[in-house]
Amino acid sequence: MRAVIIVFPGTNRERDMAIALERATGRKPALLFHRETALPDGTDLVVLPGGFSYGDYLRCGAMAAQSPVMREVAAFAARGGHVLGVCNGFQILCEAGLLPGALLRNATLRFLSMDCHLRVERGATPFTAHWRQGAVFRAPMAHGDGNFFCDDETLTRLTAENLVAFRYCEPDGQVTAAANRNGARQNIAGILSPNLRVCGLMPHPEDLVDPLMGGEDGLPLFTSLVEGLAAA
């Protein structure tokens, strides 16, 4: 799997992402700067990592969504390419219109830096195949603007088309208001595009991919991608 990580000014989680991808693929991902106007030949997966691109100016992800490389990422997605956005990467995907909705300021106004639990709402996708549907895993989160919002019509569509990938839940898998710390609509932590090839989520599975990090709960995301993309 040839993965490319996009780096914007202010991106700061590209190294964690590179470690996770290398661990799953055995191959170092390429890092690509925001000014580039072409993806490397043979790119299978584009990853938008976390951070504070462009200092979160205007809105989180708004400036990055307009950068030259994002035109290429949008074209790649339109050709059926696989794209993963984590945290700021999810915000950028929404701002770029590659995923619906937007990420608002956390309802508490607090920056949340803690572990959360996620329930896999849709198994058998390129991003979730190595979990069973309904599986619960732990993931660190670190964001100030992770409160997923969309209008009622979009929410109905996401639910009807089964495009919610992950929901915030209790360790036992119950989706409760208490587990929904940022105030996201219906506890939504991550969503998928209709072709299941673009996925964005707020928490950081890449930060739990090695026993040395305290666990491997996030590894199935990356091993799913390796297998899914080999089959694609």
């Binding site: 708004a62 307009q66 937007a102 608002l104 300021r105 309802a107 508490t108 919002f149």
Partner: protein, 79 residues
């Protein structure tokens, strides 16, 4: 020609910032403050001299970048 773009959270979209400002005003002893909504104002200095065209251009800028119409509404004022 100056254009002023007012960007506000849409009705129905949670505005925790506005809520926090409201609480702070209450703590300062200001009575009778109902809902508080916080938005932003972006001022543009445009080369365009025709007010209608300047307004149309600023509205296009708002739609493409200055506002996220999923969560925000905007209003352009030409000065």
């Amino acid at each position: 020609m100056k254009a002023r773009v007012h960007v506000m959270p849409k009705a129905g979209v949670l505005d925790p910032q506005g809520k926090a400002i409201g609480h702070a005003l209450e703590a300062l002893g200001f009575a009778g403050v109902g809902e508080v909504r916080a938005g932003k104002v972006i001022e543009l200095d445009l080369a365009e001299t025709d007010p209608a065209r300047a307004k149309a251009a600023a509205e296009e800028m708002a739609r493409r970048l200055l506002a996220n119409t999923v969560i925000e509404s905007f209003r352009v004022e030409i000065a």
